[in-house]
């Protein structure tokens, strides 16, 4: 009888212990998941391309961290032959200051190391110069327009909560037309398109915004830019035509004379 009681008590203790162990295990898993979920997201990634009159560009990639803690961070940096990198601002440094860029499966990225005190909401900026971002002379098409296509592929391991591409046009240039936009604009989702054209410090800037860009997700912005100043030929031709009409068609005012 005593033995039976002892077995029951032992069994109860064992069940309680196992239950507590399982609860602790599950809780630990949740805590681990909570600790890893936030850093897996970049709250914001914004690339700014400031194009010069000669097609060179000053580029900046800015991220707002979604989680804290140290570790590696690979940022998409798809620009042709960037140089003159400035050390990253914020709680990060280049993994290899001599070679900030890394190549993964043909995608160019900046390899950063986040400092251990990095927190969610911290901003990290990487700047560089791209001497030949755009060939202004060779890309000039009819009507003096230059087609531009910017594609941002999320080559990082993190989900980008908000991705923004800003292209600041050369001084005196304007956006003539907007072509392909990915993700596609559907007026059923929003009355306004996911891109906007504005002016910043006297220069025209086109901005594209997308949300929840997962790993390998991409956003594309195609547009045409051209010199904002218009030629005088239409003005001269228009005024001349108007004048000629007034002279040639003055008999329209007489009854019986139709055009």
């Amino acid at each position: 009888m005593r033995a039976a009681k002892a077995v029951v008590i032992l069994a109860m203790i064992a069940v309680t212990a196992v239950t507590i162990f399982i609860i602790l295990l599950l809780d630990a898993g949740r805590a681990e998941a909570a600790a890893t979920a936030a850093p897996d997201t970049l709250a914001l990634l914004q690339e700014t391309i400031q194009v010069g009159p000669d097609g060179s560009a000053e580029v900046e990639v800015m991220v707002v961290l979604g989680g804290g803690g140290g570790g590696g961070l690979l940022l998409p940096f798809a620009f042709p032959a960037p140089e003159r990198f400035t050390p990253p601002s914020g709680p990060a440094r280049f993994r290899d200051p001599a070679a900030p860029l890394a190549d993964r499966l043909g995608h160019r990225m900046v390899s950063l190391e986040l400092l251990p005190d990095a927190r969610a909401g911290d901003t990290v900026r990487v700047r560089a110069a791209v001497p030949a971002w755009y060939d202004m002379a060779r890309t000039r098409k009819a009507h003096g327009v230059h087609p531009v296509r910017r594609e941002l592929v999320n080559t990082s391991a993190d989900v980008i909560a908000v991705a923004v591409t800003r292209v600041v046009l050369p001084p005196g240039y304007t956006v003539h037309a907007v072509g392909e936009v990915v993700p596609r604009f559907d007026p059923k989702d929003s009355p306004t398109p996911p891109y906007a054209i504005g002016v910043q410090d006297g220069r025209v800037v086109i901005v594209q915004r997308a949300e929840r860009v997962g790993t390998a997700g991409r956003m594309v912005l195609s547009f045409e830019m051209r010199a904002a100043r218009r030629g005088a030929v239409p003005l001269a031709a228009g005024l001349l035509l108007a004048l000629l009409y007034l002279v040639k068609f003055r008999d329209v005012l007489q009854p019986g004379k139709e055009v």
């Binding site: 228009g238 005024l239 329209v252």
Partner: protein, 518 residues
């Protein structure tokens, strides 16, 4: 032969003359007699259009608008001036517009040229083929005479009959162009009987054609299925606003507004807008209705050709009416334009059909006019210029939370109503406006239904200019009224419609729970 017999013969000959549509071919552009004011408008219209273009073209690009969009706005504005003032024929303005879009890099050449292949242009061509068949076989004449004999004692009765007919047809045929094509030959014959033709436009003719234009367009507003644009608006209200609109919700709300608008138009048109003098209020021929009755009697029994024409046209109408059943019955859907294709092929088929190609009266100048209007409208949409214009307008209005709901309501209705003057497609206008209206409602904390559904009731009010809708283009081909006539009557009725919807919003829609209740 006695004098009375001579008069009778002369009257019958006159009836034959007015009913002979081969004298008033739509494919021929008639010369118009102009008033002094119209002459000045023509003379100054061209330089004015050029100045408008140059002003908008050289203006510093507003924030948010692409350079291409600016070009399209400049070209479209100039074309609007030319379409209204008519310094050159409207179809020439369309050609100028299309050329300017390409030359100034507003829209791609391939896109501009592609407009000629649009279904709306095809529908126009095919509708005129079917219309020619009805005219050739005298079926149109018979229907028109029967209509006159039944309702033609007074001009106002015949106008009322057309309103009623349109209201009925709108319930079954959602394609407005199809309705216009159906009624066009009958309208032309009726106009002829009352002495109106493209060579001799009268106020009766203006009332007849412009009231039909209104009835075809805003008649669609009575029914949720009255036009495809209505259904798009309903889909927006569900997906963005979260409110499901049922057929009867729409019908109970919009039908009384439409009927009231039709009654007002019917009453003010011949009395105030285009005053119909007493001599135009009865059939023009001597002997009046009696002679018409004789003429109808003289036509005898319905001929085999008329029956065949009725059968072919009936088939097309059946296909138009049963469009929702096609998928279930046939496994595919026959669109309005393909239904017209079926009818036109049978009509033109040797031995089987009734029409030879040379007998088809297709006003090609009208197709070019349509192309220009559509190219301008689509370019406005494709370049984002239309969206920018609407967005800027709402931004300029600066509607902030706390503003009185009825002030916002009146503003939204007015903006939606009058905006139709600058659009060539209801669908496009719906796609741009309704989401903005829903966004405004959400920003202000209103139920989107309060603003979006009444705004949706304005979609089919496209009555201001010949470029604003497909039926407008088809009826404009008759040459019975000018662009300015259309604009004058259209603006009056747009104002009437705006006021009616505002009054309904404050009263009837509140009872129905569409706008906030008491």
């Amino acid at each position: 032969m006695s004098a009375a017999e001579v008069r009778t013969q002369a009257a019958l000959a006159r009836i034959d003359e007015v009913l002979d549509l081969s004298r008033n071919k739509l494919s021929q552009v008639p010369e118009k007699k102009l008033t002094s004011g119209e002459r000045w408008m023509r003379y100054l219209g061209f330089p004015l259009g050029v100045l408008v273009f140059l002003l908008l073209y050289y203006m510093p690009a507003p924030e948010g608008l692409t350079g291409g969009g600016q070009v399209v706005i400049a070209v479209f504005a100039a074309a609007l001036v030319w379409w209204i003032t008519e310094p050159v024929p409207t179809h020439v303005t369309s050609l100028m517009l299309m050329a300017m879009l390409v030359f100034f890099n507003g829209w791609a050449e391939s896109d501009v040229l592609g407009v000629l292949g649009f279904s709306v242009i095809w529908l126009n061509v095919l509708a005129f083929i079917l219309s020619s068949m009805l005219v050739k076989t005298n079926l149109a004449k018979r229907i028109a005479l029967a209509l006159i004999v039944r309702f033609g004692r007074k001009a106002s009765w015949i106008l009322a009959a057309f309103f009623a007919l349109n209201l009925m047809l709108a319930a079954f045929i959602p394609a407005t162009a199809a309705r216009a094509a159906m009624l066009l030959p009958v309208m032309i014959v009726v106009a002829g009987i009352y002495g109106a033709s493209n060579a001799n436009p009268t106020n009766f003719g203006r009332n007849l054609f412009l009231q039909n234009l209104q009835a075809i367009n805003f008649g669609s507003s009575a029914y949720m299925t009255g036009s495809n644009a209505n259904l798009i608006a309903v889909a927006f209200i569900l997906s963005m606003g979260g409110s499901r609109i049922y057929y009867t919700d729409w019908l109970f709300a919009a039908f009384p507004v439409v009927v009231t608008a039709m009654l007002i138009s019917w009453w003010i048109g011949p009395r105030f807008v285009f005053k119909v003098p007493p001599e135009q209020q009865t059939p023009e021929v001597e002997g009046g209705l009696e002679r018409m009755r004789e003429k109808l009697h003289e036509m005898g029994k319905v001929t085999a050709e008329e029956k065949k024409a009725a059968l072919i046209f009936g088939l097309v109408i059946v296909l138009w009416v049963t469009d929702k059943l096609h998928l279930r019955v046939l496994g595919f859907e026959i669109s309005a334009v393909m239904a017209a294709f079926v009818g036109a092929v049978i009509a033109l088929f040797p031995r089987l059909g009734l029409l030879k190609w040379n007998e088809a009266d297709i006003p090609w100048h009208l197709m070019l006019f349509s192309c220009g209007a559509y190219a301008g409208g689509l370019a406005l949409n494709d370049t984002g210029a239309a969206r920018w214009l609407v967005g800027s307008l709402f931004q300029k209005l600066n509607i902030q939370p706390g503003v009185n709901f009825w002030a916002v309501y009146a503003l939204v209705i007015a903006v939606n109503m009058y905006s139709h003057l600058f659009f060539t497609s209801k669908t496009m206008r719906t796609l741009i406006f309704i989401p903005f209206v829903i966004a405004v409602a959400q920003t202000l904390g209103y139920d989107p239904l309060w603003l979006a559904l009444p705004a949706a009731f304005t979609i089919d009010w496209v009555i201001g200019l010949p470029i604003n809708a497909k039926p407008n283009v088809i009826l404009f081909a008759t040459g019975q009224y000018s662009v300015l006539d259309n604009l004058k009557y259209g603006l009056i009725m747009t104002t009437v419609g705006t006021l009616l919807l505002i009054i309904a919003g404050c009263t009837w829609f509140r009872v129905l729970g569409i706008t906030p209740g008491w």
